[in-house]
């Protein structure tokens, strides 16, 4: 942290929505298809084609706005942003400009110095551009245009310049990512470009109110790169100013290989986007009924879940955070607690054996062969002393492999805990008789030897004896 300069950071995040179709036409948004195979007159920008708004995109925008504490505009309009680029079929991008759908929101993040509220200026809907591929090998060089992605729906989420370090920027970004993924409106896949970040970075002397000149960093597609790019840029600007130079307002491209940002001069001419209301699209009116319906359908968000897990289910802060972090995990856990009233055990098993199994096989919780029904069937047998924790772990592995219920496995393999006093007593007697030396040690005051006897009895019972009963009987008998 520089003692003279303070960084000022604002983020613009593009979230690709996971609707089935594009924002203004019925073409599929599926990733990875043959180039230009998912196109039609509208997204190809053919003469005469017209856009029609996908209702689900509006629904998702309202959802995102409500989850980030925004005000939903009763009336918003689509505008054309005019510029020429080969991946932009119509020569303009349909976006929102003067009247976006969401404004004045915020997110709370946690920093080393406690909680901090980051303002969200606006969220607007827009269409994505196509993809440019560079055919290096061809003679003279040329670029190739794939328009499958053109016209896919994006939300642009613009923060206030409220962040003062790269860590805060990353914390905000992670929080935002968690929320939009939680809402189920995006897959959040950063590598495939479903969650993209541009950062506006400037520096100013501590205490100065006026912002410094900012640079816009483009194309940062991982949390780590966001941190690296911002830190590089902060250092660059401070160094520049300290050397008597001046920061110029410009767009800079982050190169993940070198960790350096470089100016995009050359491509950068003075832009004049000539925004104006798109005459092909009608104003959008969102009434309070619509807003309230969406609000009613909002899922419980991670922060609220985390709090509830602690307060109502008695989980530790750590457990609550881990379980609430991702929606599928939280839903798995909550299904378990609904089936069997032992949140702590459900939490331990979900975070323990279930997570271990998922990690080993690199599968998602949705694909977990041990369903909440199977898992809670197992926990119930521990709780009613049918099996021990140790046996339960074996049973879990078998449930995972066979998909059979705990009860079936316990029955088939005779794993039911032995609780018959007579049977355990016989085993205890056998073990005591076979180990006179250890009996002497115990009686001489070496309490530790008790563990040895317990182990021997459990072994003899093939793990099925109730450990508590074994303990009690041994103590009584060894005392003589």
């Amino acid at each position: 942290m520089n003692s003279i300069f303070e960084p000022v950071i604002g983020l613009e995040v593009h979230v690709q929505l996971n609707t089935a179709t594009k924002i203004f036409c019925g073409c599929s948004t599926a990733f990875g298809a043959t180039p230009n195979s998912q196109t039609c007159p509208v997204c190809l920008g053919l003469p005469g084609a017209l856009p029609v708004l996908n209702r689900q995109v509006v629904e998702n925008a309202i959802t995102a706005g409500l989850a980030t504490n925004c005000q939903i505009a009763p009336r918003s309009i689509f505008a054309r942003k005019n510029y020429f680029y080969p991946d932009l079929p119509k020569g303009y991008q349909i976006s929102q400009y003067e009247l976006p759908i969401c404004e004045h929101g915020w997110l709370d993040i946690e920093t080393d110095n406690g909680g901090k509220r980051i303002g969200i200026t606006r969220i607007h809907m827009e269409e994505d551009a196509g993809k440019l591929l560079h055919a290096e090998e061809s003679e003279g060089g040329s670029s190739l245009v794939d328009l499958n992605r053109a016209c896919t729906p994006l939300l642009e989420i613009v923060s206030e310049p409220d962040m003062r370090s790269s860590d805060e920027a990353v914390a905000y970004l992670k929080k935002l990512h968690q929320i939009v993924v939680y809402l189920g409106i995006t897959d959040g896949n950063m590598e495939e470009g479903s969650f993209r970040c541009d950062a506006n970075v400037s520096v100013r002397p501590h205490g100065q109110e006026k912002f410094g000149t900012r640079a816009e960093l483009k194309n940062i597609n991982s949390f780590r790169f966001v941190k690296e790019a911002i830190e590089y840029e902060i250092d660059r600007q401070i160094e520049l100013i300290e050397d008597g130079g001046k920061v110029v307002q410009e767009t800079r491209l982050f190169n993940a290989d070198t960790g350096i940002t470089r100016s995009m001069r050359g491509k950068e001419e003075a832009h004049d986007y000539r925004y104006f209301p798109d005459p092909d699209l009608l104003p959008l009116n969102v009434d309070s009924d619509w807003i309230e319906r969406v609000r009613g359908e909002l899922p419980e968000l991670p922060a609220a879940k985390r709090q509830r897990y602690q307060e109502q289910l008695g989980l530790s802060d750590y457990d609550a955070e881990v379980l609430a972090a991702e929606r599928p995990m939280a839903e798995y856990f909550e299904r378990c607690t609904a089936l069997h009233d032992n949140p702590k055990a459900c939490a331990n098993w979900t975070m323990g054996e279930v997570q271990r199994g998922l990690n080993e096989q690199s599968i998602s919780i949705g694909e977990c062969p041990v369903t909440p029904e199977l898992l809670t069937g197992l926990i119930a047998r521990i709780d009613d002393n049918t099996i021990s924790n140790k046996i339960a772990k074996q049973v879990f592995d078998q449930i995972w492999q066979t998909g059979k219920s705990a009860d079936v496995i316990i029955e088939e393999q005779g794993l039911k805990q032995v609780t018959d006093t007579g049977a355990i007593e016989a085993l205890v007697d056998e073990v005591i008789a076979a180990n006179p030396a250890q009996v002497e040690q115990f009686r001489a005051g070496q309490e530790k030897v008790l563990g040895f006897f317990v182990g021997q009895v459990m072994k003899a019972s093939k793990g099925k004896a109730n450990p508590q009963m074994v303990n009690e009987l041994l103590r009584n008998k060894l005392k003589g």
Binding site: T19, A20, T21, C25, G26, C27, S28, T34, P35, N36, S37, Q38, T39, C40, P41, L44, V52, L53, N54, R55, Q56, V57, V58, R75, I77, F84, P86, L132, L133, H134, A135, S138, G140, G141, S142, S143, L144, V145, D146, L147, L253, M264, G266, K267, E269, D272, R274, F276, P277, P279, L281, L282, P283, L284, N285
Partner: protein
Amino acid sequence: MKLTREQAAQVAKLARLDLPEAELSKLATQMDAILAYVDKLNELDTDGIEPMSHAVPMDNAFREDQIKPSIGLERALKNAPAAKDDCFQVPKVIE
């Protein structure tokens, strides 16, 4: 003079029109005359008047999120001046 030749040149650049000098000068003169004419709008006081961007006052036209068949690769590329590897081909884009 509402519009100089230099301004016209800047507009041509924005509009991606490569205009030879003679054409540009002529256009600048014609645009200047038209702009002088449209200046008459300033005779009207439009304070508090809502701008009209649609001819018919309506709102909310939607489509449902249901996939419609695309037109297919062949038809998409049929009119392309240049195509390669299922893509539209253009002179190299320098970033």
